[in-house]
Symmetry: C2
Subunit: 199 residues, 2 copies
DNA sequence: CCAATTACGAAACTGGAGTTGCGTAATTGC
DNA sequence: GCAATTACGCAACTCCAGTTTCGTAATTGG
């Protein structure tokens, strides 16, 4: 069952990812040099490129490990559950943002990841799939709340989730503002309660 | 009042931006080569770098000209006005997205711009200022609707706008889904009407 | 043991961003 | 006219991502 030729040295992957992560956090995305990673890891550059076809692919692999597998909690209180979920997404974003290298308001590595997804078909597909999974879970949460009568029957769940998640990304990438629990609560309140005076 | 030394050739700016725009739309951000732009424009590379300190700066200058100055209309119907405004933002995003070079779902040049803002302090500051201006205008629109009683008195205008604008960016950059008038309407409806059943 | 296959290392190479140094051109202030 | 100042072109240069070539090592199947 083992593949035909010489097997890959599995220790390389772990070592490289650790070194690359250290470089990204220390000097930012631009400060990540393939040559330097290869040298510090004690492997040839070709060995790196066999595993990650571009610097973008390597960086994405590094950052992907930062994302905790956001477990979603369904307590029956949709407001609390959504705030919780938003906070988890925000934590992931803030972690990636810290990998920017630059201080001050800046998207950090988040922007580079979006650019990487735009540059490489496969990275784009991969991240879209991850987000689709997340979407599905969140939409199910919303749907359950709708079914049990907590939310409007004619709810547009997709729009609701886009609003919530989108606002987080918008803040991190465009306005550069920090996101914390207080903001997550404001966001969920605004989205749930709406803006019209028809109450 | 004229500056001291030899004046810059003002024709260069226009010519370079036109050529760079053509290259970006034809081959995408990665296909934009400084050497090629310089050659086609008939100027030296140093002349380019005197005006735009990096390729990112040049590209941002190119794309900045794509953005129409979104004039905001205040008809007194906040729902219609917001849909209108969202559609204008969406049009700008779709235009930039077209500058990606790649076909299929992809952020196109939008992702590169976000990355550029993250990479260069000055670009980040500049774009944040532009967005701040836009924010101010939109917040004023919302505020007027609130004052005349169309919107809730205890409205969180900032959160509302983040939700709307954020969802657009989220769709373009992350999910890669297209945005049209129908989506803008869904978005505004969802945000205005809220999701709770307490109506 | 042997052929096929895949991984690895080393080194040279290509291409593009950005820099540097230098000679020359255009302008202002005097 | 003359000095100071800024723009321009040209060419060589550095740096880094990514590629190519080639010799060698480890593994499977027979």
């Amino acid at each position: 069952m083992a593949p035909r030729g010489r097997p890959r040295d599995t220790q390389v992957d772990e070592r490289v990812l650790r070194i690359a992560a250290a470089l990204i956090f220390e000097r930012g995305y631009a400060g990540l040099s393939i040559d330097e990673v290869a040298e510090q890891a004690g492997v040839a550059k070709t060995t790196l490129y066999r595993r990650w076809s571009t610097k973008d692919h390597l960086a994405v692999a590094v950052v992907a490990r930062l994302q905790a597998d956001d477990e979603i909690t369904d307590t029956g209180d949709i407001r609390a559950d959504l705030v919780d979920y938003m906070e988890k997404i925000a934590a992931g974003l803030n972690r990636m943002r810290a990998a920017g290298g630059r201080e001050g308001p800046s998207a950090g590595a988040v922007g580079e990841l979006v650019a990487a997804a735009a540059r490489h078909e496969d990275i784009g597909r991969l991240t879209r799939e991850q987000y689709a999974t997340r979407n599905t879970i969140a939409l199910a949460l919303i749907e359950r709340a709708r079914v049990r009568g907590e939310l409007r029957a004619d709810l547009d769940a997709e729009a609701l989730f886009d609003q919530l998640a989108g606002a987080l990304y918008y803040r991190v990438m465009i306005t550069g503002a920090p996101i914390d629990r207080a903001y997550a609560e404001r966001l969920v309140s605004s989205a749930l309660e709406g803006s019209l005076t028809c109450h």
